[in-house]
């Protein structure tokens, strides 16, 4: 039982990180019907940006204020990168066939990945130990402070996002643009602002996710974005792409799934099973667990 609970705790932590990244994918897809393949690499970039902020700007300070500053500054930096990405890679292709935008996304992904390599070097960089190594033991289960922080902060961010999208006017604008961009424009909604907003939100959440990855694993390489992007993409599809609670659920489920397969079956099969799961979902329930069957208006 202890092992099960331990795997559960680990799975939830990883799942929270997947969920944060998946939210970026799902928000962009919801409004623009575009899979932003560059998102995973932005998450990786945020870890490197955070590392630079720590070493250069804050002079290696490790106080709580410094940590909060790293998060805020990285989120702002990645939000700017996100807006830049949208302007340069996606806006010119607004009226082009869907395939062009996908190719552009892949190209942007490569540009960001190699940009990281050129700026920060190809070797693995070590993220500083900013969270104190505090552990609590409940029976046979050990939980660390960083796991609790990741879970709580992710939950707060996700709930805040959900409330923002459901209860505020701007949120209503996002939902309207997701349903029909032209109709939204006719209702007086500035769709360009909405798109810029979703990129800001998606990139900031991804930045927080990237910093968590850096803090939890501590080793960051320039090509780690692809892996996380892929898992987050699967999580978003699992929960229902375009659906915000779906992305959260999908992320958590995927984290738990990977933890249990790697723990009880074998680490070799974790990836294989993840993709089998993806295929199953697409066959059985292609709109995802929480996705609604939306009739195509002709």
């Amino acid at each position: 039982m202890d092992i099960f609970l331990q795997q559960l705790a680990n799975g939830l932590t990883i799942g929270s990180m997947f969920a944060l990244v998946a939210l970026g994918y799902t928000m962009v897809y919801g409004v623009m019907k575009l899979i932003n393949f560059a998102h995973g690499d932005m998450v990786a970039a945020s870890a490197f940006v955070g590392l630079t902020i720590y070493t250069q700007i804050l002079g290696q300070a490790t106080s709580l204020g410094a940590v909060i500053a790293i998060f805020l500054l990285s989120a702002i930096a990645m939000a700017c990168v996100g807006i830049l990405l949208e302007r340069l890679a996606y806006r010119p292709l607004r009226h082009a066939p869907r395939l062009s935008a996908v190719v552009s996304a892949l190209g942007a992904s490569l540009v960001i990945q190699n940009g990281i390599m050129l700026i920060w070097g190809p070797q693995m960089r070590i993220f500083p130990e900013l969270v104190p190594q505090v552990y609590w033991t409940f029976g046979g289960v050990v939980i660390s402070l960083i796991q609790v922080l990741i879970l709580i902060i992710s939950l707060i961010l996700m709930v805040t996002l959900y409330l923002f999208v459901e209860k505020t006017r701007m949120g209503a604008a996002i939902r309207a643009s997701a349903i029909d961009q032209d109709a939204a424009r006719l209702m007086g909604i500035n769709v360009n602002s909405v798109i810029a907003l979703i990129f800001v939100i998606g990139s900031s959440l991804g930045a927080v996710g990237g910093l968590f990855i850096g803090l939890y694993y501590r080793g960051i390489t320039f090509n780690m974005g692809w892996q996380y992007g892929l898992y987050a993409f699967i999580a978003a599809i699992l929960g229902g792409i375009g659906n915000i609670p779906g992305a959260m659920l999908g992320g958590m489920l995927l984290g738990l799934f990977q933890a249990f397969i790697a723990g009880y079956v074998s680490s070799t099969w974790a990836d294989a099973f993840t993709f089998i799961l993806l295929i199953l979902i697409l066959i059985v329930r292609p709109t995802g667990l929480l996705g609604e069957r939306v009739a195509e208006k002709v």
């Binding site: 795997q7 799975g11 070097g121 070590i126 130990e129 390489t221 723990g263 974790a270």
Partner: protein, 376 residues
């Protein structure tokens, strides 16, 4: 107009092709190493070392009058890129290749070099590297079988561990070392409670470690690379697994301590002595030169072993007064007197293995330095 442009382009192509065909007035030395990727630290160390030796030899007049031309190919630590690099370097006309850092990449490239008669020296410790009978392959490190015997002896006879957990990844080096060590442990009467495999670079090892925790080991022996070892150690501590951690030789890299952070202290690493512990004058001189040229210490002993391999081949060519690779290989396989090396006396057996080998167990201290706690 179009005709003129086409003619100019053709002329330029011809010039470029002729420039590529340099008439062998240099000795081409290839380097195949992970310049990028998880093992970039080691790969760049190897490249730096080779370039430094080449510069030093060239300053003294080169090898038999020819200057050394270093050609580097990045194998990224993957077998696929390694095979491509091998063909690439052979096409560029190299006489010898230093590389690669990992056994997987060395093995992927071996056949290409053998078919082309290009000498290859690598620090890969997988036993399979010398089992193919390729006369072109010279191992400049000591094979896994030697380390397995030492590690098993240390764990069973010296430290008396009762429940040994073994972890490796899927590379030929790590799986080979783990399996050889398990066999030696069983021979010595030890008890292996579990043998788990992780996927290198997957970073999330908590599921596997949680599984191992349930087996209650008193020691974890990790046969893989430093980039995973450091994270394993820190995650082991985070999960509250109170077992000793012994890392195999590929964990011997400063990044291990950096990744493990505060949990690095108290971890053990089995390897030959570190660069700063080398007692030889030639070692001290080279390390000082390296530090002056690159502003840092060589990352580990592996780069220096590769340099010794390079120096041995150059020595053989100079003794033979010929660049013929078969003659150089014959000389090296039949050396009666070892060559003075940076990592100790270096000579080769008939199968290409390096003779000798002295392992130590090092404990990582609070300041990330090593303390030798057991020597052969």
């Amino acid at each position: 107009m179009k005709r003129t442009i086409r003619n100019i382009m053709l002329a330029l192509c011809a010039v470029a092709m002729l420039a590529g065909l340099s008439w062998a007035d240099t000795l081409k030395v290839g380097v195949q190493a992970p310049i990028t990727g998880s093992y970039a630290n080691e790969g760049q160390g190897i490249e730096n070392g080779v370039r430094l030796i080449a510069a030093q030899v060239n300053a003294k007049g080169g090898v038999l009058g020819k200057q050394i031309d270093v050609i580097v190919c990045d194998d990224q630590g993957t077998a696929m890129a390694a095979a491509i690099c091998a063909k690439d370097l052979v096409n560029k006309g190299v006489k010898m290749v230093i590389g690669s850092y990992t056994s997987t990449c060395a093995e992927a490239a071996q056949k290409t070099y053998f078919n082309a008669g290009v000498l290859q020296t690598s620090d890969g410790t997988a036993d399979s590297l010398t089992k193919h009978g390729y006369w072109t392959f010279l191992r400049n490190s000591f094979p896994n079988s030697a380390e397995a015997a030492f590690a098993a002896n240390y764990m069973v006879k010296v430290k008396n561990y009762k429940r040994i957990a073994v972890i490796s990844d899927f590379s030929s080096y790590a799986a080979g070392l783990a399996e050889a060590t398990i066999a030696e442990i069983k021979n010595a009467g030890g008890n292996v409670v579990t043998y788990a495999k992780i996927k290198a670079d997957s970073q999330n090892f908590t599921p596997v470690l949680t599984n191992i925790k349930s087996k209650q080991p008193d020691v974890i022996f990790f046969a893989g690379y430093y980039s995973d070892g450091g994270q394993l150690r820190s995650q082991q501590k985070a999960l509250g697994i109170n077992a000793d951690f012994i890392g195999g030789d590929a964990n011997d890299n400063p990044d291990f301590s950096k990744l493990a952070g505060s949990s690095a202290q108290g971890a053990y690493i089995i390897n030959v002595p570190s660069p700063d512990a080398l007692p030889y004058d030639i070692a001290k001189t080279f390390i000082a030169d390296y530090q002056k040229t690159y502003g840092m210490m060589p990352p580990s002993i592996w780069g220096l072993m590769n340099i010794d391999g390079m120096r041995a081949i150059i020595h053989a060519m100079e003794q033979n007064k010929s660049f013929d690779t078969k003659k150089a290989a014959d000389y090296l396989h039949n050396m009666d007197k070892p060559l003075e090396g940076i990592t100790g006396p270096i000579s080769f057996a008939k199968d290409g293995n390096r003779k000798g080998g002295a392992y130590v167990v090092k404990e990582i201290q609070a300041d990330s330095s090593y303390k030798v706690v057991f020597a052969q």
